[in-house]
Each structure stands twice: as C-alpha cells, then as structure tokens.
C-alpha cells in the first residue's frame, strides 16, 4: 500500500506542476538579478498560484471551509448578513490625511474658486449593522476622519455632510453588494446633499424615470470564491423627465484619445465592469455638456463614486469636467484652465481619500 501511496502522491505533485507549466502562460525567466532578489521565486509562486489545475475549485474550497469555520471576513472583506460584501478600511497614517487636506486647502487659496468638498463614507461603515457587532466596534471611524478634514477646511470650502443622509437610508439599495461603490440611488442622496449645501434646487426623485440593466451582475469584490455567498447587483439609470435635456459625454483617455457619447448611459457596449454603463465609465478626464438653461461650469476632482452622482449634477451645470488626478498625465492637468470654472468640487470616497487620491498632483494645475 505504501508503494501505491508514494506513486500516487508523487504523480499528483508532478502532474499538477507539469500541467501548470503547460498552461501556456509565460513562466518567469531566471537571471542573476531576479535570482538574487527573490523576484524569481515570487514570480514562480504567483505563476503556480494562477495556473495550477483546478485552482478556482480549490480556492472555492478554501473559502467554503473558512465560512464553515465561522469566518465572515475574508482578506479584509466582510460578508454582510444581507449578502453584501463590505470592504474594510485600515486606519491610515495621519500624515496622509493632513497632506491631502493641505493639498486641497492650498489649491483653493491659489485659485480662489468657489470650492466644495464632499467625502463619502464607504459601505462598511454605513451598513455596519450587517456585520458582527464586535467587528463593527473595530471599524475605522470614517465619520471622525471626515469631521477632522472638514474642520481643517472650514472657511476655505463648503463642506457637504453626506454621512447622515446615507446612514438614514442605510436599509435601501444605496451601495452595490459586490462592488465598492454607491448605486445610483446612493448617488441621488449624495447629489441631494450637495445641491442643498450649494442652494441649488434639489430635483425630487419623482422627476426621474428609472431603467434597469445588468441584472444579477457580480462586481470585483465577488471575484474569486466569495460570489457564492453574495447577492447579485443591478444598475439603475435615472433619466430626468421634467424638461427635454441632451447630454454629451466626452471621454479623454490617458493617451489623449477622445471619444464622444450621446446621453448619460451606454447600454450598448459590453462592459467588463457593468457600472461603466453609467456615463460610459470614467477616464482620466470625462466631460459632460448639457443643453439646459444653466451657464455655470463645474470642475470635479473625484473617483469612481462620480458615476453614481454626476448624472444628477448634469441637470445643474452647462459643463462638467471630471478629473481623475491619479490617472491623468501631467500634460493634461497642466492644460486645465481652472479660471474657466465657477465651481470646483472635490468628491472622494473615504478610502480613496485615505490613499491620497493623487491630490499632491493638484500643484500641476497652474492656470
């Protein structure tokens, strides 16, 4: 019997390794530099991790076992009671928060534009009732961080408190279950707070027609084996019905390529990320032009959350320019004329803000 065990186990180890090597993917090439710096070993390990036969099933098996063990947090993602996946946020370096707040403050002082700051809490803190109370007690206090940043910027910019509004609506579908982003409904509540803070007339939700797409999709948080336990998502597209409006969305890629899209939503393209239906996704620079009665221009520095709330803002501005500071090349940033805009908005989700969001690159905008 021991002979059979030896042959079987040796065969399993050898055949699995050979099948991984035959997967057709590029195997790391050893050279002196790679060998002496461990990068060769690290490369082989990740090659095997990605190409071992039945890796997805094995990965699923690990998650199932952890789930059976009672685990409800997987690599920093909580599995909520309602089937939502909630990404945890680690406590950041306080220096990063201060540096980001200072960068915004300096920009406002330099450009003297009407500025507004909106930090959006993530799902894990708003929907903390969905996770174990002991785990919830340990969550990073996003509300406190937002208050501190707002206190730093008081007198320099209008600060928008969206925390309370989102928390009040926490039992509604305001965050995707499997994606780290607000849904369009969540975006509407954020827009409402922004509009109130700037004394714009908030359009009631009844002014919009809602169409749905991508029923049951699973986002990036559900990639791997967690999707089995998560509820699916859908995309809601809000169309303003009170007046005839035409919207043109222009995307500028990092290489300068521009594409123009008519309307706020693109259902025709087969998107890898279904949330890109909204605005056709976001590029380093995304512009929206609206043929409404408004003449003001809005400059937005933001992140992926803009997909949820920017369609609503399009009803209040003639032109909105969205800039992803982390992705836009230097030359693109230098070409922006801040003086063309009557209003500037900094809008980031708490986790993007804590990671810096590329705000140190604001100094590249000179005009």
């Amino acid at each position: 019997m021991k002979k059979a065990i030896a042959l079987f186990l040796a065969a399993v180890l050898t055949v699995s390794g050979v099948l991984a090597l035959l997967s057709g993917k590029a195997f790391p090439i050893p050279n002196f530099g790679a060998l002496s710096s461990s990068s060769f070993s690290v490369g082989i390990e990740s090659f095997l991790s990605e190409n071992l036969p039945e890796r997805d099933k094995l990965s699923q098996l690990a998650v199932r076992l952890l789930y059976l063990s009672g685990r409800r947090e997987f690599d920093g993602v909580f599995l909520g009671e309602d089937g939502s996946l909630l990404k945890n946020i680690e406590a950041p370096e306080t220096d990063t928060i201060e540096a980001s707040a200072d960068a915004i403050g300096d920009f406002i002082s330099d450009h003297r534009a009407g500025a507004c700051v909106m930090l959006i809490p993530t799902a894990v803190i708003i929907k903390q009732q969905e996770i174990n109370s002991a785990a919830a007690d340990r969550l990073y206090n996003q509300r406190h961080m937002i208050s501190e940043v707002y206190a730093d910027l008081s007198g320099k910019a209008v600060t928008v408190d969206v925390y309370q509004s989102l928390f009040a609506h926490r039992s509604e579908y305001i965050y995707y279950n499997t994606e780290e982003n607000l849904t369009s409904l969540g975006g509407y509540y954020v827009y409402s707070e922004y509009a109130s803070a700037l004394n714009l007339r908030v359009r009631p939700i009844s002014d919009f027609n809602i169409a749905y797409a991508a029923h049951g999709f699973q986002g990036s948080l559900a990639s791997g084996a967690l999707g089995e336990y998560a509820s699916g998502d859908f995309i809601a597209m809000y169309a303003y019905t009170q007046y005839e409006r035409e919207y043109t969305v222009t995307h500028t890629a990092a290489d300068g390529t521009r594409t123009v899209q008519e309307g706020l939503y693109d259902r025709q393209t087969a998107w890898n990320d279904p949330t890109d239906i909204l605005l056709g996704g976001l590029t380093p620079i995304t512009e929206i032009e609206t043929n409404g009665p408004y003449e003001e221009w809005l400059l937005v520095f933001g992140d992926e959350t803009a997909k949820s709330w920017m369609p609503f803002l399009a009803n209040h501005y003639a032109h909105i320019t969205f800039i992803d500071l982390a992705a836009a090349p230097d030359s693109m940033l230098a070409a922006i004329r801040v003086s063309d805009y009557q209003q500037v908005l900094f809008a980031y989700s708490a986790d993007t803000f804590l990671e810096g969001a590329g705000l140190d690159r604001l100094t590249l905008l000179t005009e």
């Binding site: 079987f8 699995s16 390794g17 070993s41 890796r55 690990a62 785990a135």
Partner: protein
Amino acid sequence: MQLYSLTFLYLFLPVSLALFLITPAKWRSAALFLISIAFYGLSQPDQFLIFCGMLVLQYALSEGLRRTEGSPRLHKAIYVFGIMENAGAMILFSALNQITGRAIPLGTMVVAFTSLGYLVDVYKYDAEYETNFFRFGLFLGFFAKLYRGPLVRIDNLWKKPIPPKPTLEQIGNGLVKFIRGLAKYVLLSVPIGQVCADLKAADELTVVGAWMVMITFAMKIFFDLSGFCDMARGLGLCFGLELPKNFWFPFQSASVTEFFSRFNMTVTEFFHYYVYDNLKSEKPTPLQDALNTSLVCMLAGVWFGIRMNFIVWGLYIAAFILLEKWFLGRYLERIPRFFTGIYTFCVTMLSMVIFSADSLGEMLRYFGAMFGFSAIFSTAETAYDISGSVIPLIAGAVLLTNFMSVLIHKLRRRSPSVGGAYDLVMSTVLLALCTAYLL
C-alpha cells in the same frame, strides 16, 4: 520559496526527488547537498552567502581539528575557537534580530547548535570526523531541517556511509509525514496564530481572552514546531535520511518534567547530553542539581533565541521540574492522571505568558487577567475572534492529544490495508486543502 510554498510542492520537490533517485550511489551525497544549497538559494537569496560561509567555516574547523590531533595546544585552540565562534554567531544574530528587527538567517541557529555538538563529540572522541565535505554539509545544512530542526548528532544521521536509495515504501511514508507536517503548519498553526493575534489586539483584556491568547499561542507554537519537524522527517525519509522524532504529545503530560521531556525532544536531549551529563557528579548536592537543571532548561529556552523572556521561561520550567523532583512528584503520582494533566496544562499555559510577552508590564497584565484580576470576564469581541476559526481550534485541541494517533494505530493493527487506504485518502485531502489555502 519555502517548504510550505506551491513552488516547493509542485516543482522543487518532484524535480529534486527525481534527480536524487537517478543519481548514482557515490554521487548521492553531493546531489543532496547541491539540492539543499539550491533550496537555500531560492528561499533566502539575500542570506545565501552567510549560510555558505558558515558551512565552509564549520568544515574548515572540523578539518583543522582533525589535522592538529598531534599538536594538543593548537588542537585545543581550534576547539575553543569553534565553540566561541558558534556561540558568538548565535548571540550576534539574536542581538541583531532584537536591535534591528532583522530576521535571523534561516538555519543559522540549527547549524550553530549542530556544529557545537559535533565539535564536542569529535574533540572528546565520541564521534569520528566527517571528512567528506558534501556529507558534512548535509549533516549541518540538509534543507528540510533548517527551519526548526530536529537537532541531530552525526552518529545518528550517518548510520550508513552514503545515503541509501530510499525504497518506494520509504518515499510513501515520507510523503505522508511531510503532508501531515505541512497541514499542521498551514491549516492549524497559521489560522490559530491569527486568532491569537486578533485576541491579543483586543481593546480589553478579559479573563477568557487572556487564557485563550495563551492557549492559542501554545497551539500555534506547537503546530508550527511539530509541523516543520514532521516536514523535515518526511523529506528526510524521501531522501534516505532518518531524522529523530521531536515531539510526543507534550500537552497531555502528567507533570512538567514529562512535558519538558516530550517537547522539542532533540533539543532537550542535546542539552542533557552536552551540558547536564558533563556537569553532573555521582552524588550531586541539591544546589548542584538545581543549577544544572536550571542551566539545561535555560539553554532549551535559548534555542528559540537569546531573549530575556526565553531565558526566564526556561528558569520557570526548571523551577517546576525541581519542585516535582524534590517535593511535588510524590503527590502527583497518587493523583489521577486527569487532574495531574490539568495541573500540567495550567503550569505550561502560564509559562506561555513568559514565553510570549513583549515586556514585563504585559506579562504582569496577562498573569493578572488569567488569575481573575481583570474587571471583565469576557466580551463579545473575544467571542467574535474565537468564532471565526472554530474548526482549526477544535481540530487543534483534538490533535494536541494522542486520541487520533491511538485510533489510527489501532486501525492499522487491525487492518493494515484500511490503514494504508486511510493514509492515502487523508494525505490527498490534506494536500488539496493545503494547496487551497496556499493559493
């Protein structure tokens, strides 16, 4: 690459085993030495030269001793230098680890201890010199034992002049043992260690929390050490080397003396042989006995690194061994094993406070909480941390005892073929689970 990596499992092991098996007998030592060196180079490239330097230096010392047999003063000088050099290396690496936080290079403690023993053996004519560089290098640096041992003496390792070609049965046994060790580390030590870290990070130290920190810490240490030793023994069998057993269910001992003799056995025996036996007199006074026992226990603590809490841990264990020897032992013999087991468990768990503490203040805080001086018995946070890893904790608790071992032993005796089938199925399942966790 580590012993517990996919690279080792699915590439390095099959390739190196195949190369070893097709190598002619006279080159087998050299082949296995080169496999060990290649493993080290791939796993610790930044420490590769330190490791090779250590092996060459130890070989030079051995040759120096051998060639100066006719010059007693020079012979002794080389011997003393060898002892001091190895002790110095241990102190230096431990000190660097504590001061700079730089990890102790893999295997340096094992190599230094093994070499110390070898130098004493050959100096005292208890063993013959190993003149073949490859065999000497393997004795010190066989890759599988570099992590946590076991410690070997040259006479125990080289029972035959060349490593015999392992039979298929031995390879089968070796792979089963290796996968069992891998599972102990990947499926038990790592997740239980995470529970321990989470409990330790809790805002409030509760009575239950403090005990659970120490229990999970003990489990983590045990499954880490015994897991790596099982891996080493399993790989040793695959490559024709028989390495000694290092653990024998220490946490179900009936006394601290028994615990000490079952925990990290090769290290305890090493110090018994090289220190205790050399110091003891025919009729030792209680003071001599106390000093010798304390020294051995203290050195057994130093095996984990030269830190004050490891030394104090050794002295704490020594105190109970002496108490049992002089006074407690006769009472323990009369008490049912269940109760002596509880006594040993409590003493060893309290010893974990000393072993794991980062400071004196932390140590006192944990002792206080474990004896009920904490304001809170337990919190939801403690329950949450434990509830996230129920299966590893239950499996770990069962595997701390010999319950499963006895059961399987009986099964094998009753029906060898069923026992074999169990080994095959269990090894395959454990391999799949380990792979799943390593992905």
